[in-house]
């Protein structure tokens, strides 16, 4: 009897003790963060929202012609070029000068670097006007800035884009003085400016594959010169390119090379002999920009340019090749 009583008491005590202890002793959880993984710092859905926001601003300004609003989502060369395009379009009275910046993308190249500035790139689908797709570069200067459209180029017809890492993984940015490339991005753009200016006479000509832009200037210059020579005015045509101060943006390609986007300015000069020869603006756009200025024997057209090129890795035998450009006349003068 006593034994069973004791036992009962013990059992009851144990049950109660267990219960009470269990009630109090639940451990506080501690944060168990996931380990950082290599991934794009911008997700595709975020990129989509960014694109929508930029496109909204671009679209709104296109309608309202209130270029001041562009600064909210455009930056650097893109802002400058778009303002020019808007000005030209306004002068011409049509929208042809405006590059189609609708942002339906066939490919996005997202940044993997956690530091700022961050750059992302995107390639649009073929625009409705059957012009070539546009490669856009976006930039987030600091963490408290928004992503802004920094620049764009129209891809060359039939160009093959280099391969990039999976969008989800992100592609690292390439600094402008990166040595792992055949030529650093900054040098590449300098060299290309030289090549565009003097073409095959440039000492860098061997680094670059021939391309549509160089061919365009050859054809265009020849056309202008021939036209002037018909009047026996001894025409000449000259193009000068030079990089802007605004730095380049470069992103690593899958093969270790880089896609480099850079802005330049250029000036083409068409001259005829002074006596008895007067030449005017050559194109519809330049005519619109010309206004009612007096004609002379000189036409100077200033352009704002963007070029995008593929720079292969250092040990590659490939040449640097242009993948796209934008060439927007910004002003015309009679010299």
């Amino acid at each position: 009897m006593k034994r069973s009583t004791t036992r009962t008491t013990a059992v009851v005590a144990t049950v109660l003790a267990t219960g009470l202890l269990a009630g109090c002793a639940e451990e506080l959880p501690t944060p168990k963060p996931e380990a950082p993984v290599a991934a794009a710092v911008v997700t595709q859905s975020q990129e989509r929202e960014i694109l929508d926001k930029v496109a909204e601003v671009v679209g709104k300004v296109e309608k309202t012609k209130d270029a001041d609003k562009l600064a909210a989502r455009l930056d650097g060369p893109a802002l400058s070029i778009r303002e020019t395009q808007l000005k030209v379009a306004d002068a011409r009275g049509d929208k042809e000068p405006l590059t189609d910046l609708s942002m339906e993308m066939q490919q996005v190249i997202l940044p993997s670097d956690q530091e700022w500035p961050r750059s992302s790139f995107a390639i649009t689908v073929q625009p409705k006007d059957l012009t070539t797709p546009v490669l856009m570069a976006f930039n987030q200067a600091t963490a408290r800035d928004q992503y802004k459209l920094w620049g764009w180029v129209r891809l060359l017809p039939g160009v093959t884009m280099p391969q990039f890492a999976e969008a989800d993984l992100g592609s690292p940015a390439v600094p402008e003085d990166d040595e792992s490339l055949k030529v650093t991005p900054k040098d590449a753009i300098k060299q290309y400016a030289s090549v565009l200016t003097v073409d095959k006479k440039s000492k860098y000509a061997d680094n670059f594959a021939d391309d549509d832009l160089r061919q365009f200037f050859r054809d265009y210059g020849k056309l202008q010169v021939e036209a002037i020579n018909k009047e026996e005015c001894d025409g000449s045509f000259k193009v000068e390119y030079e990089p802007t101060k605004d730095s380049v943006r470069a992103v690593r390609t899958a093969d270790g090379g880089a896609l480099v986007v850079a802005s330049m300015v250029s000036q083409e000069t068409i001259t005829a002999k002074e006596e008895g020869c007067e030449i005017g603006p050559p194109t519809k756009t330049t005519k619109a920009l010309w206004g009612d200025a007096d004609v002379s024997n000189v036409v100077e057209v200033n352009y704002k340019d963007m070029v995008a090129m593929y720079v292969p890795p250092k040990d590659s035998k490939d040449e640097i090749s242009l993948v796209g450009y934008e060439h927007v006349p910004s002003s015309v003068s009679n010299g």
């Binding site: 009962t8 008491t9 219960g19 996931e34």
Partner: protein
């Protein structure tokens, strides 16, 4: 006494167990949510959670941020890199985890890589750190996964996703202060003690109740049947009246119930002096000639032991137990006859009836008025002898009316066949009465049941005796 204490303890423990089990599911049940608050330390206008804090308790978290009335506050969710990048060199508070279930631990955020710079121009750094002229507003950044802005209080729900998502809460605008954060997580609450508590407690309760009942019975019996131990006598004194009353009622009410006390409560017989006797007489009238005669005839003591299932312990005459009940069966027949029959039958069963010396029968019956208890053992030895078996024959008929009719019949037949005619007279006498048997049976059942119960729970009559 001890039984009572045990019973009380068990009942209390049972009730306690049930109560505790229920309480864990009700009063003591933990909250369905964990609500933890972070109070900013005062520096800066921003509070940032560390990676993993949002998913600390559950994947679903509701964040509420409060700033002084009328001020603007913004909540934003983003990757830790983005958020810390956005915060930059500004001072902020970092929520590092739970310091209790109600409180979040807060530490001054460590501005990345600014310490060297701070060493250079500590004063300027501090000056700028302490009070930003105006709290910057993170609202609208492309980097946020989710955000909300509002005045005074805003809240935001978030379901944890893969990645290192952290929360940025910022007081915005002039004289902004860092908001007070409140994180609320749902928590699955289990009640692991509910059913164990209720079931275990219930079991203890039941056991306790049974013991209590057993104790009460024992006491009744013990108090009436015996005088020896001081403990026992003392108790009964106070309790006896009540018990007697109970039994009196039982006895008065009906035949069957009257039997139970009769079988189970010989005390009345043992203790004629007490009120019990008064009660009993009425019971006996219900069943006039039968049990009463048999019971009364023997001495009280042995009877008692038998009725409590004690026969088994005594002299190994277990089989005899039924007989007492059987005795009444032969109602019509003279009581003496019936009694012997019962006892003999038991013997016969044990021994088999190898020797069919029926002739002795006639003589035996009369001699057996004291078949009970003590008598049984005495008889056992006799069984082997011729006379005993003989008795079996007469006994058979008497017993046959009870459960084991067929076998009894067979035996009786055999006995008849073998036995000399002399045995016959007795047999017919017992045979005639059919009815009484069933009735007699009933009284027995309760007592035997009680005995079984007592054995099961270890509450044998010994307890009382010891």
């Amino acid at each position: 006494m001890v039984q009572r204490i045990l019973a009380t303890l068990l009942i209390l423990a049972g009730l306690g167990g049930i109560g505790y089990g229920v309480a864990t599911a009700t009063v003591l049940r933990e909250s369905d949510t964990v609500v933890a608050t972070a109070t900013p330390s005062g520096d800066g206008t921003m509070v940032v959670t560390e990676p993993g804090v949002l998913g600390l308790v559950d994947d679903q978290v509701t964040v509420r941020a409060t700033v002084p009335e009328g001020q603007k506050v913004t909540l934003a969710l983003g990757s830790d890199v983005d958020v810390l990048g956005w915060v930059g060199d500004d001072p902020y508070d970092s929520v590092t985890g739970l310091s209790s279930w109600e409180t979040l631990s807060v530490a001054p955020g460590t501005a990345p890589a600014t310490e060297e710079g701070a060493a250079d121009g500590e004063e300027t750094a501090d000056a700028s750190a302490e009070k930003p002229a105006s709290g910057p507003d993170p609202a609208g950044s492309d980097m946020w996964i989710s955000e909300v802005s509002g005045e005074t209080t805003v809240s935001l729900r978030w379901t944890e996703e893969p990645g290192r998502v952290v929360l940025l809460a910022a007081g915005v605008g002039k004289d902004a202060e860092a908001p007070t954060l409140e994180l609320t997580w749902p928590r699955p609450v289990t009640t692991p003690y509910l059913w164990p508590g209720v079931l275990g407690g219930g079991l203890l309760l039941i056991i306790g109740v049974f013991i209590a009942i057993g104790a009460r019975r024992n006491k009744n019996r013990g108090s009436k049947g015996r005088t020896p131990s001081a403990v026992r006598t003392r108790q009964p004194d106070s309790e006896l009246p009540r018990r007697d009353a109970v039994f009196g009622v039982d006895g008065d009410q009906s035949g069957p119930s009257g039997h139970e006390p009769g079988g189970g409560l010989p005390p009345a017989l043992g203790d004629p002096v007490e009120g019990g006797t008064a009660v009993f007489p009425p019971a006996s009238p219900v069943l006039p000639g039968r049990g009463q005669a048999a019971r009364n005839a023997p001495e009280p003591e042995p009877d008692q032991s038998r009725s409590w299932g004690a026969p088994a312990p005594f002299g190994g005459a277990a089989p005899i137990t039924p007989p007492p009940a059987a005795e009444p069966a032969p109602g019509p027949a003279p009581a003496p006859v019936a009694a012997p029959a019962a006892s003999i039958r038991g013997i016969r069963r044990r021994r088999g009836q190898g020797s069919g010396a029926a002739p002795a029968d006639p003589t035996q019956p009369p001699a057996q008025p004291t078949p009970f208890g003590g008598a049984a053992p005495a008889r056992a030895p006799m069984a082997p002898e011729a006379p005993a078996p003989a008795q079996a024959a007469p006994a058979a008929p008497a017993a046959s009316d009870k459960p084991m009719t067929r076998r009894e019949m067979r035996m009786r037949d055999q006995a008849q066949r073998r036995a000399a005619t002399g045995a016959m007279p007795t047999v017919p006498a017992s045979e005639p009465e059919p009815e009484p048997a069933p009735e007699a049976e009933q009284p027995q059942t309760p007592s035997s049941r009680a005995a079984a119960w007592r054995q099961t729970w270890g509450v044998t009559g010994n307890d009382g005796g010891n």
